[in-house]
Amino acid sequence: MKYVPPGRPGSIVTVLPRYENFIGGKWLEPTAGKYRVDLSPATAAPITEVAESTPQDVELALDAAHAAKDAWGEASATERAAALNKVADAIEANKEMLAVAESWENGKPVRETLNADIPLVVDHFRYFAAAARSEEGRSTEIDKDLIAYHFREPLGVVGQIIPFNFPLLMAAWKLAPALAAGNCSVLKPASPTPWSILKLLEVVEDIVPPGVINVVTGPGAEIGKALAANPRIAKIGFTGETVTGRLIMQYAAQNLIPSTTELGGKSPNIFFSDVMAHDDQFLDKAIEGLVLYAFNKGEVCTAPSRALIQEDIYEEFMARCLARIAAIKQGDPLDTETMIGPQVSAQQLAKISSYVDIGKAEGAEVLIGGKRAMVDGEFADGYFFEPTVLKGHNKMRVFQEEIFGPVLAVTTFTDDADALAIANDTLYGLGAGVWTRDGNRAYRMGRKIQAGRVWTNCYHAYPAGAAFGGYKISGVGRENHRMMLDHYSQTKNLLVSYSTEPLGFF
């Protein structure tokens, strides 16, 4: 089926002419009164306008968060969990509406937002509601009269800056643990995708107390720094590229606060010969596992963008994969049959295209795709790029740089050691995939690959409860797991003496 684009007659998504910042439970006009047009990448036509905020708006959001932090921080885990569960219920009840809004603004196909993004958002809030309820402090009997009690206390007000590739899911990954741990948040969405999070806030605005969640939209150069370098935040969380990641850590160092950064990858997806030992469902799954490089049009930090295929199966396995890639349906992101939508912005489209040119100049062979995709009618101006495969070797730039588009770099390997050497020959270490019918080999490879997440006989699954984060320059910290409660709290130790006996020193 095809959903009607947001704002048009018959659409399940209503669109206001413009959206303000969400601060202190209210929709507040940006103090400078400026707005910016928000485009759909499918048509390059405007959806609405959003606030083009200034540092003053960040200060207002911080005022609201600080006003709310004591009450929210002192709320019982029961109360906080109840609120998070209500947030999850409200999002679930509006799943289709939010999926359509997210797809139209980001370009990802609605089959993904309906079946992955939004259900994962819902589950993420429930997971952290449960995590908050099941938290226990620890106490230690140092000796019979001296007891160390440990309490987890909120940090207070945190800053969170999220990327454009999963606007709602990344918001959930950041907000759910922060709120579960008793913090208030000031969140800045990415410039290309500020609107869907505002639609989500419309759904949950009456559930959490005013000031607990605050969202300010606008340019990173202005409000990003105003938030990340602000002495009134107690922690900063960021997902994005490496240079801004360093800048975030630099600001955190200057304020002596913690940071969590997730900065991308160039993830290897390794296919051993034995995947072709039988022509069965597992082989079918492995072929899809390679084609998952095109999931979310390749705009995924963990995209399996380097396929390493054992040389003796390369021809046959790749032929099967290329047939599957050729069958990818590209077009209207709101058509449930569509498998790949437009890239998020004209900037991303241009970057992807230039990388394919770089690859060709380096001697890579284009096995399929390689250029902007032309989609008819209303989508003629959309930012579509053909699913592309480049064959080459791991020293090429297209094997080393994150393209952030539907471009797969494929090469071959001889044996386990060769596969491992190629897999680890990268600056990054966020994700990896290993495909084999040999459990021992899968385990050995998984432990040796320098990456925070090694999908084994699967890829692109993001269940709450599986820790996610980078090795090497892919960032510092973990998300998506209850250990996040540690990242968003500080430990209070009460060291209590039950003895009446003086020390005797003075």
Partner: protein
């Protein structure tokens, strides 16, 4: 301005130079560039007020564009086969914390020559 021992590895198109001059005039001060890698807005040159980004021993000064220094992380530079960069501008706002190159423009880098890397 720091000296570079090697020949300059970065240059700029006339459009980028003119955008840079306008940006410096509008800001009333110099800016710096740091080539980025990684996800989302990665692979783009991030433009900051000069000195905003603390450069470390890990960074390499590739050259300067009309007095604005251009840096890259040495590890990225090696992985990217020490390419030559050309600074240019394209339509659309910048991403992450980078300054815009003017009204609805952002800086980009292109590679001036791509020599095939050695096959291992």
């Amino acid at each position: 301005m720091t000296d570079v021992s090697a020949p300059e590895r970065v240059t700029a198109t006339p459009a980028a130079r003119s955008a840079l001059a306008a940006l410096r005039a509008a800001r009333g001060g110099p800016v710096m560039f740091v080539q980025s890698g990684g996800c989302c807005a990665g692979s783009t040159p991030m433009c900051f007020p000069d000195g905003e980004f603390v450069v470390g021993d890990v960074d390499l000064l590739l050259g300067d564009i009309d007095g604005s220094p251009f840096y890259i992380d040495r590890r990225l530079d090696e992985a990217w086969n020490q390419t030559l960069f050309i600074l240019d501008v394209e339509p659309g706002p910048p991403e992450d914390f980078s300054l815009a190159a003017g009204d609805d423009l952002h800086f980009v880098t292109r590679s001036s020559s791509c020599t095939a890397p050695p096959n291992p």
